[in-house]
């Protein structure tokens, strides 16, 4: 007497194979959905921006006249913002990651810090805006300048950098540290000469991804009070400024008054997307180039 009844197996075969096919198609459709939305989005934006992106648009200052308006101010503002966010997150983020991975003993406190860094990553960006407004813009009396915005954005993306750096540091094999300690190197010498160089690609990837998130955020800067007015081009961290997504936000809001503002917003989005895609590509390139080193 066999336990597996061939007739029974035959009878169920059809449904099994059907379910198999269904599963495959279902998952393919899920993937397709995201892709389709992205394509529609890009198509709409690009279609609206056609004819609006030219050298004048990029190099002109902001103007109420749609024909003369350009985004030089927002581009410079974005660059200045990155100039503040990059070093601040790099120092704080990598510092935190080194502490947590190399120094902190596995304890409850360490677990608590770790959990809260993850929690911090889940805090809505507008809340960071309120923090920036109270602490940097008001309490430190910086006003709505690049430094205040940059510090706020740095806090916002800090968890991303911390987590990415931690993963990169953790990926450095223990035997490399042992080899260094084994020759009488101190902990700091080992971190500086062995751990950091080996984890740098991973850390850089994290920093670039964090930066691209920072320059795509709108809410915190709107809360801090980035002006929608015509301001001079920023040339320092203590100048008032605007960045590309904030520019998009204001042009979209005002498109009820001047219809062409919608086209300007679309054109700005295209530029922003190009910048973001480029930054993400660099991050991926770095990751691929240095993968599998151990």
């Amino acid at each position: 007497m066999k336990y597996v009844d061939a007739a029974q197996v035959q009878k169920k075969m059809g449904t099994r194979l059907l379910a198999n096919k269904l599963a495959k198609n279902l998952f393919f459709l899920s993937t397709l959905f995201g892709l389709i939305v992205l394509v529609i989005l890009i198509y709409r934006v690009v279609a609206q921006s056609i004819g609006w992106i030219d050298a004048d648009f990029i190099f002109n200052k902001l103007s109420t006249d749609p024909e003369k308006a350009g985004i030089m101010g927002a581009i410079l503002g974005t660059l200045w913002l990155m100039a503040v966010v990059a070093p601040v997150t790099m120092v704080l983020g990598v510092g935190t990651a080194i502490y947590l991975e190399e120094y902190a003993k596995k304890s409850r406190l360490q677990g608590f810090i770790q959990t809260n860094i993850s929690n911090l990553a889940g805090v809505p960006s507008v809340v960071f805006g309120i923090l920036g407004l109270t602490v940097f813009a008001r309490a430190l009396d910086l006003g709505s300048v690049v430094l205040a915005g940059g510090l706020t954005m740095a806090l916002l993306v800090l968890p991303v950098v911390v987590v990415a750096s931690q993963e990169a540091i953790r990926a450095v094999p223990q035997y490399l540290r042992e080899a260094s300690y084994g020759m009488g190197a101190t902990k700091w010498q080992t971190i500086k000469n062995i751990v950091l160089p080996a984890s740098l690609p991973g850390i850089l990837t994290g920093v670039i991804l964090a930066l691209s998130r920072a320059i795509g955020e709108t809410a915190p800067l709107v809360v801090i009070g980035i002006p929608a007015l015509l301001i001079p081009l920023p040339d320092g961290v203590l100048d008032k400024f605007t960045i590309l997504p904030v520019q998009v936000y204001y042009w979209t809001t005002d498109s009820a008054l001047v219809a062409e503002y919608a086209n300007l917003a679309a054109a700005t989005i295209v530029i922003l997307l190009i910048v973001l895609f480029a930054m993400n590509s660099v991050a991926i390139l770095i990751r691929n180039k240095f993968q599998k080193r151990f």
């Binding site: 260094s180 300690y181 084994g182 020759m183 160089p197």
Partner: protein, 274 residues
């Protein structure tokens, strides 16, 4: 005249060597060493003297504490957070388990070669220059000399001299391990600890490392953990047999292999367990 002085000195040296042969100096003295990983005792009452310019082999089955012991000798074992130690380890008559003994100082005198070749992801040159650099040597000329001397010392100079700036990961496993030995030699250590240095190598590379160990013991004391008994018999002067965290037998290699005094040693070396 000069020639005469030379021969005179040589004669004296030979005399001195003979004398030291008779009364060898102790490099490492272990007294009542106990070690726990959390609640598990890994080493029990170890008493062991290790002599200068000898190769001391530590053999025993897996989990007998031989690796733990060798890692205690340069306090590498402290990297594991739950470790507790009692007793004394005297290195050149100073207790290294003493709080005031700086572990960096100890490891500058006691080099280590690990089970798996672990060169840094840097050039061959940078690997060897790493130790001297962290100890503050910046002079290019001196570094170059150290690198050459160490690579020659590890019998790998001829194989790598034309590609010192290439990444060490391009070397074969056996070459990498000899590079790691060169790296350890670069800090001019007094002792080298080897934790199963050939277990990841092919027979030819193993042979090369073994020959190297013979060569090195002229200047350096070597302590080698191995689970290969033939290797212990081939290269060591003294052998300690560890079992369940205890030293069962410790004597010169010839007698332990030809005439073990403990039944358990005999069972192990004749392959009845382990």
């Amino acid at each position: 005249m000069a020639v005469l002085t030379m021969t005179e000195t040589k004669g004296k040296l030979a005399e001195e060597q003979e004398f030291s042969q008779a009364e060898k100096k102790i490099v490492y003295g272990t007294k009542d060493l106990n070690l726990w990983y959390g609640g598990d005792q890994a080493l029990k009452n170890i008493n062991l003297d290790i002599y200068e310019n000898e190769v001391t082999a530590i053999i025993g089955p897996s989990g007998c504490g031989k690796s733990t012991y060798i890692k205690t000798l340069n306090r590498m074992v402290e990297l594991i957070p739950v470790v507790r130690v009692s007793g004394e380890i005297l290195y050149r008559e100073r207790n290294i388990l003493d709080r005031s003994y700086k572990v960096e100082d100890l490891r500058t005198n006691v080099g280590m070669v690990f089970q798996k070749p672990n060169p840094f992801p840097k050039s061959i040159y940078e690997n060897v220059a790493y130790g001297p650099k962290i100890h503050g040597i910046r002079d290019k000329k001196i570094l170059n000399e150290i690198v050459e001397k160490s690579l020659r010392g590890a019998a790998i100079w001829d194989e790598v001299k034309d590609r010192l700036n290439e990444n060490a990961y391009g070397l074969s496993g056996g070459q990498q391990q000899r590079l790691c030995i060169a790296r350890a030699l670069a800090i001019e250590p007094d002792v080298i600890l080897m934790d199963e240095p050939t277990s990841a190598l092919d027979p030819i590379s193993t042979l090369k490392v073994e020959e190297l160990v013979q060569e090195l013991k002229k200047d350096i004391s070597i302590i080698i953990v191995t689970h290969n008994m033939q290797q212990a018999a081939r290269i060591s002067d003294r052998t300690a047999f560890f079992l369940n965290g205890e030293v069962v037998e410790y004597t010169n290699t010839n007698s332990i292999f030809s005439n073990p005094s403990d039944k358990r040693t005999e069972d192990y070396i004749t392959g009845r367990f382990g």
